[in-house]
Amino acid sequence: MDTGLTQSEQRELEGRLQKRQVKEFMSVFGSLVDTCFSSCVDDFTSRALSGRESGCISRCVTKSMTTQARLGERFAELNASMTAEMQKR
């Protein structure tokens, strides 16, 4: 596919997209930690996570990931149906 970019421009573009992806992932990760910490950790009388708290965090992460995946699927479906609607007109 001829995108009109030179080899080195192409490489530069890929590099930048990758960096942005990493940044985005890190911010998603950060907010996940924040959310699960808020929901699960309320006892600051000790330094270590209790068994209950780490179990809660595990479940919180798993639920978040499942939710994100499912929302992604629904969004893609909605997008596809809206596109189809617009093409009909």
């Binding site: 990493v22 890190m26 911010s27 990760f29 950060g30 996940l32 930690v33 924040d34 699960c36 910490f37 808020s38 699960c40 950790v41 600051f44 009388t45 000790s46 330094r47 270590a48 996570l49 708290e53 780490s54 965090i57 595990s58 992460v61 798993t62 990931m65």
Partner: protein, 85 residues
């Protein structure tokens, strides 16, 4: 330096930068969250119980970070395993 060594040096540099940005963001989050939880009514100085709470909050936050990391990786590995079947 040959090109391979240059590449490695650049990767190392990039990782360092990313790590320091991550560390800074992490610190900001810890600051915000732990101040919220441990110092509900700010006085003119930190009491010793507030200080203790802040220390333990920070330790717990980092432990939580590790726990999230672990769970996340485990889950990804599971999904990759499922797809491979």
């Amino acid at each position: 330096m040959d090109s391979d060594a240059v590449k490695k040096a650049i990767i190392r540099q990039a990782l360092q930068t990313t790590n320091s940005v991550n560390a800074r963001t992490l610190m900001e989050n810890i600051n915000r969250k732990c101040f919220e939880r441990c110092v509900p009514k700010p006085g003119s100085s930190l009491s010793s119980s507030e200080e203790t709470c802040l220390t333990q909050c920070m330790e717990k936050y980092m432990a939580a970070w590790n726990q999230v990391n672990l769970t996340y990786i485990r889950r990804i590995q599971q999904e990759v395993g499922n797809q491979a079947i």
